[in-house]
């Protein structure tokens, strides 16, 4: 098991946001987390990442067999967890190029960004002058997402969480982003040969038209209301809305 979440409860500002969360993700699997806005999807994302404001009050998180519940974000990322944020902050004065250097293990004193990362940027339609811009400052919705994906391609994590990777992105760019998510998650390998795992967070599920998931979970009011085949669950949600999920006998 790559990631195992057991009986997890999480508080934010002394208010319980998640409870009784159980989730298992194997190596090579892609899971999708569905649910209406405000049900705790992003909270689960931040809790797995280990952000300080997300306090685990019960349960634990195992990653690659190790209990990471008490590790800080940096330590978790160094174990191979990667993330793409929905709305990352802008950092004035820090160039994307410099952040990419750090992520690819280069020293900031090296004048040139390594050719491999430059090539990845080109494939994501991010030109060299874009790389000189301040991180996320004045980026369009699509640019933010492509910059996040580029950083992940540079970091090469084993387990990647994507928070709403298609929100605020036009159709043409959704396909480009999806293609790179597929690369990140070894989707071009046969299922048995895939090494990378992922958790996609989406409330509309549009990205699933381009990225196949193995298992879907629906998060309602801080609990996983149901899990199962992504196509079937999405069909149900499209027909009956999220309410139907709670009553769903199969879940």
């Amino acid at each position: 098991m790559l990631l195992e979440i057991i009986d997890l409860a999480v508080e934010v500002n002394e208010k319980e946001v998640l409870s009784n969360i159980n989730l298992k993700i194997r190596q090579g699997e892609t899971h999708v987390l569905l649910g209406p806005n405000g049900t705790g999807k992003s909270t689960l994302f931040m809790s797995i990442l280990g952000f300080p404001n997300y306090k685990v009050t019960n349960g634990k998180i195992l990653y690659k067999g190790q209990d990471i519940t008490n590790l800080n974000t940096t330590e978790r990322v160094k174990l191979g967890i990667g993330v793409s944020f929905q709305n990352p902050p802008a950092i004035r004065g820090v160039k994307l190029e410099d952040l990419l250097k750090v992520e690819s293990g280069q020293s900031l004193d090296e004048p040139e960004l390594n050719p491999e990362t430059k090539e990845l940027a080109r494939k994501l339609k991010l030109n060299e002058s874009f790389l000189e811009r301040n991180v996320n400052l004045g980026f369009s919705g699509g640019e933010v997402k492509r910059s996040e994906i580029l950083q992940l391609l540079t970091q090469k994590p084993d387990f990647i969480m994507f928070d709403e990777p298609d929100s605020g992105v036009d159709i043409e760019n959704v396909e480009l982003i999806a293609e790179n998510i597929n690369i990140l998650l070894d989707k071009f390998e046969k299922p048995g040969l895939r090494k990378k795992s992922g958790l996609l967070i989406t409330h509309l599920g549009y990205i699933l038209n381009f990225v196949n998931a193995d298992i879907a979970h629906v998060l309602m009011d801080g609990r996983i209301a149901c899990s199962g085949n992504p196509t079937e669950i999405l069909e149900d949600i499209r027909k009956e809305g999220f309410k139907g999920c709670i009553e769903c006998g199969r879940c």
């Binding site: 990442l49 952000f51 300080p52 800080n72 974000t73 940096t74 990322v77 160094k78 993330v83 944020f85 990352p88 902050p89 950092i91 004035r92 004065g93 820090v94 160039k95 410099d98 952040l99 750090v102 992520e103 301040n134 950083q151 970091q155």
Partner: protein, 410 residues
Amino acid sequence: MRKVLEKAKKAKNKKAALGSDVELEQFTIENTDEHETLNSIDEVSNDVKNTLLKVGVNTEETDRVGSFLQIDQSQIVSNTMSDSLEMMGMNVALDKYSWLKDYMWKAVKPDTDKYTAGIAITEEEEGSKGGYFIRSKPNTKETFPLQACMFIGDEKVMQTAHNIIIAEENSEINIITGCATGDDVMSALHVGVSEFFVKPGAKITFTMIHNWAEQVEVRPRTGIIMEDNSTYINNYILTSPVKTIQSYPTAYCTGNNCRTLFQSIISGQKDSIMDIGSRVYLEGTGSKSEIVSRAVAKDNSKIYARGHLAGAVPDVKGHLECHGLILSDDALMYAVPILEGASSNLEMSHEAAVGKIDEEEVQYLTSRGLTEEEAASMIVRGFLSMDITGLPPELAAETKRMIDFSVQGM
């Protein structure tokens, strides 16, 4: 001239409007022949070379068109390699040009405070004791900069300088000034009067980097008089500890369509008290000014970041931007933006923000594998390395390099 002496004598004990009062009596003014002169700036010791390099003064003079070096009160080196410019010690210049005395004390008043008064009295009674004269000839443009350096070599000295910089009509000049102290100097006082005259259509870019010792007190007094269609760009960088510094360079846009830009990068460390401002009087129509500062306060430092824009006539524009980061509970940041409008149809604005490092930014960087300390340091360096604008490309790259160098290891 007699008037100067009269005024100065009256102001002999006049405390400065801002900054703590420095007792001048605890410092000594050396003679002008205390240190031996050199043929070239490259002849200084290796220790001094390294110190100078940190303040942008390149002793090999790569991409420089001249150098001036004053150690304590002694003028050590002065040479220029450009036909468009002249640079020499003030005492030499005063002998050469009889008209030069008419420029003295025009942009800075001798009775501003006891520091200016002290210099004026010495000059009147004993002759000039230090400083440089720089002049660009009319209709010339020199892209590469001159470098001028004020270096304090001996303990407990009071270094004084009275500099006059004249950009004649339609000329352009770039100056890098580095101020530093020798490794074994603990405490000293630097008082420098700088008067700039930017003639019609002329442009001066003045980039100053300071690197003093922890017990040095610094009181620069700077005035800039600008005529029609002239441009003055001032870049100031201070990222090393100092005991106290108080400066408030003031530009007088007396002509129409003047442009001024003041950019400051300040980092307070240890017990430093830094009181740095920029002031512009917009007195000619169509004139525009921008004042931008970035300051970081660490340890027990206190930073006063001031800006003052005064518009006296219609159709002038000014913007003031002052951003500060406080990195320690024992540090203090005092941002004082002042806007003054005395006419209709003018436009002035300011933007000031003082705060801590944004937690969200730190967390974002930790999610990329940086530790919290690495993240904070990257954010602070980014905050301070604002792109200095208004420089020719050759100088922009060099200035960027100097800023990165200053900010490194913070």
